[in-house]
Symmetry: C2
Subunit: 336 residues, 2 copies
C-alpha cells in the first residue's frame, strides 16, 4: 500500500450543515466497506475491499483512507460531516477504542477513532456494529418510528443492538447488546470467546453450517452430502426449499435455537419488534414459523405477540447506521 498524496481537506461545519452527508464504514473480518450516506439514508456511493486481516491497524486505516477517498470523490468535501465507523465488538464506543477484534490482528486497545481522525482529517465516531446496525434499522429500516426494538444479526457470529424507550441503548463504554454471548445451554458448545453454551456458539451461521456438515456426513441420501466441506448455510436453505428432509430438520433446529435466544431478549428488553439481519436472515422465510413457535412455547404470555421481521437494509444496516449516527449524534466519541 502506497502513502496517499494528500490529506482530505478539513470540512467546514457551516457548509456541512446545509446539505449534510456522512461516510459510513463497516469494518468486518473479511470485508471493509465504505458508503456515502445522505440524510435520507440513501447510499449514494459505495466502495469495498478485502480486509487486510493480518496487517494490523495501520494497514486497515490505510485501506479505510483509500475507500473514503473513493466514495468522497463524488461530493465536495465540505459537505461531509464526518465518518461513522462500525466495527465488531467488544469496543469502547465512548472512547472510540477497539478492545480486540477476534478476526483481525492487533486491534486490542487501539484508539481507532482518533487514529482515523488524524488520517482522514474528519470527525470519526466508532460504534459497535450491532448498535450501529440497530440505529440504521431504526432510522431507515424495519424499526422506523418505534420506541423499543431489538436488532439481531446472525452471520459468522451473533450480535445485536437495542433501541429502548426511544433511545439507542449503549451502556458502560457503549458495550450493551452483546447478545451472542449469553449462555443458553450451560456447558454447551465451545464458543470463539472461550465460554461454553453461548447463543453464538449454537445459533450463528458458523454453527448452523458446521452442524449441517456434521449431519450431512451421517445421513444417507441427503442432497447435502455431496457438498462436503463446502456446505454452508445458504446451501442448507436452498435444499430445505427443495424439500430435503435433513435440510428441513437443520432449519427447524436453527429456528428453535434462534427462538430460545429471542425469547430471552423479549424478557430482557421488552421490545415491540425483533429485527433479524445477517447472512442467516436469508433463510428468514424458512425460519420464521419455528421462531414464532418457540416464542409461543417459552415466553411469558404478555411477550408472545411481539413480531419478528427481517432487516430492511440488508447488509447495509451497520454502514448506514454508522453514518446516520454522525449526522444525528455527532459528538459521542469524537475528539474534534
Amino acid at each position: 500500500m502506497t502513502a496517499p498524496d494528500h490529506k482530505l481537506t478539513r470540512m467546514e461545519r457551516g457548509a456541512a450543515m446545509t446539505h449534510p452527508i456522512a461516510i459510513g464504514i463497516d469494518l468486518g473480518g473479511t470485508q471493509v466497506r465504505a458508503g456515502l450516506v445522505d440524510a435520507s439514508g440513501a447510499v449514494v456511493a459505495h466502495a469495498a475491499t478485502r480486509t487486510d486481516a493480518t496487517g494490523g491497524p495501520q494497514a486497515v486505516i490505510e485501506q479505510i483512507h483509500q475507500l473514503v477517498r473513493e466514495v468522497a470523490a463524488v461530493v465536495v468535501l465540505e459537505r461531509i460531516a464526518g465518518v461513522g465507523m462500525a466495527a465488531p465488538g467488544p469496543l469502547d464506543g465512548d472512547a472510540g477504542v477497539t478492545l480486540g477484534i477476534p478476526t483481525l490482528a492487533g486491534f486490542s486497545g487501539v484508539p481507532l477513532a482518533r487514529l482515523l481522525e488524524e488520517r482522514l482529517d474528519l470527525p470519526v465516531r466508532l460504534e459497535n456494529d450491532g448498535i450501529a446496525a440497530a440505529f440504521g434499522e431504526w432510522r431507515f429500516g424495519a424499526g422506523r418510528g418505534l420506541r423499543n426494538f431489538v436488532y439481531v444479526t446472525v452471520s459468522t457470529g451473533v450480535g445485536g443492538g437495542i433501541v429502548a424507550d426511544g433511545r439507542l441503548l449503549r451502556g458502560r463504554r457503549g458495550m450493551a447488546g452483546h447478545v451472542g454471548h449469553m449462555t443458553i445451554i450451560r456447558d454447551g458448545a465451545l464458543c470463539a470467546c472461550g465460554n461454553r453454551g453461548c447463543w453464538e456458539a449454537h445459533a450463528s451461521g458458523t454453527a448452523f453450517a458446521r452442524e449441517g456438515r456434521r449431519r450431512a456426513a451421517m445421513v444417507v441420501g441427503s442432497i447435502l452430502a455431496a457438498h462436503g466441506a463446502a456446505l454452508d448455510g445458504q446451501i442448507v436453505f436452498e435444499a430445505a426449499r427443495k424439500g430435503d428432509p435433513l435440510a428441513r430438520a437443520l432449519v427447524a433446529e436453527e429456528a428453535q435455537l434462534l427462538g430460545i435466544g429471542i425469547v430471552n431478549l423479549l424478557h430482557l428488553y421488552s421490545p415491540e419488534l425483533v429485527v433479524l439481519g445477517g447472512g442467516v436472515s436469508n433463510g428468514f422465510d424458512l425460519l420464521h414459523a419455528g421462531i414464532v413457535a418457540q416464542i409461543h412455547a417459552a415466553a411469558l404470555a404478555p411477550f408472545r405477540d411481539v413480531p419478528i421481521v427481517r432487516a430492511a437494509l440488508g447488509g447495509n444496516s451497520g454502514l448506514v447506521g454508522a453514518a446516520a449516527l454522525i449526522l444525528e449524534e455527532p459528538d459521542a466519541n469524537s475528539s474534534q
Copy 2:
C-alpha cells in the same frame, strides 16, 4: 374486612410540592407492605399485613387502603404526593394494569392503578417490583450516582431492574428486566412460568432450597439432613458458615448458577455494577467469590471488572423505589 368509614382527602398539589412525601407499597405473594417515604428515601412510617392471596383484587385493594391509612396518619394528607406501587410482573407499567400475578388470585388484566386511585383518592403509579427496586437502589442505595447498573433480586423467583445510560429501562409496557425468565439451560428444570431452563428455575431461593432438600436426603452425615422438609436457603447458608461440606457445595453451585445469569446480563446491558438483593443475598458473603469466579471464567474480557455488590436497602428497595418514582416521575401511568 369492613368497609372504611371515610375516603382520603384529595391532596393539594401545591402543598405537596413544598414538603413532598410519598407512600410506597410493595405487594408480594406473602406480604403487602406500605411505607411513608420522604424525599431523602427515609421510611418514616411502616405497616404490613399478610397478603389476602385468594380474595382477589378487591380484597387486596382494601388491605392496601388500610395500610395507607395507617402510614398516612403521621402526616397531614396534603403533603402526600401519591402512591407508588410495586407489584410482581408481568404487569403493564405504562397502563397501570397487572397482567397476572402468579401467587395471587384474580390479577389478570386488572387496572390496579386506576382502582387504587379511586379508592385512595391519590395519584397511583404501578411499576414492576424489579424496576421499582432498581430505582430505589439508584436513588438511595448501592447504585447511587451511576449511569448504568443492573439490580437482581433472588428470592422466591428471580427479578430485576436496569438503569442504562442514566435512565430507568422500561421497554414496551414497562416490561423490561424480566431477567429470571431467560433460558440458561436448554431443556433444564421446569419453571413456574411453564418454560424449562429459566434462570429462575435454577437459581432462585426456591430452587436453592429444593436442591438443598434433595441433596440432604442423599448425603450421609450432613447437618442439613436433620431439617427434612423444613430446610431452606438460610439454613444452608448457616451450615456453610459452620463448614458443612454439603452446604458449601450447594452454595458453590448456587454461586455458579447466579454467575451464569449475571454474565449474560453484563453482555446484554453493560452495567458498571451489579446489585444483588432478595433473600438469597443474605448469603452474599458466601456467594460473592463464586460469582466473581464465574464472571472471570465466562465473560468477555472487557466485562470482567464489573463489581457485584449487595443491595443497600435490603427488603425496602422496591417500596422506597416505588415511592421515589412518585416524587420524581409522578406522571408515568397516573390518570390524575
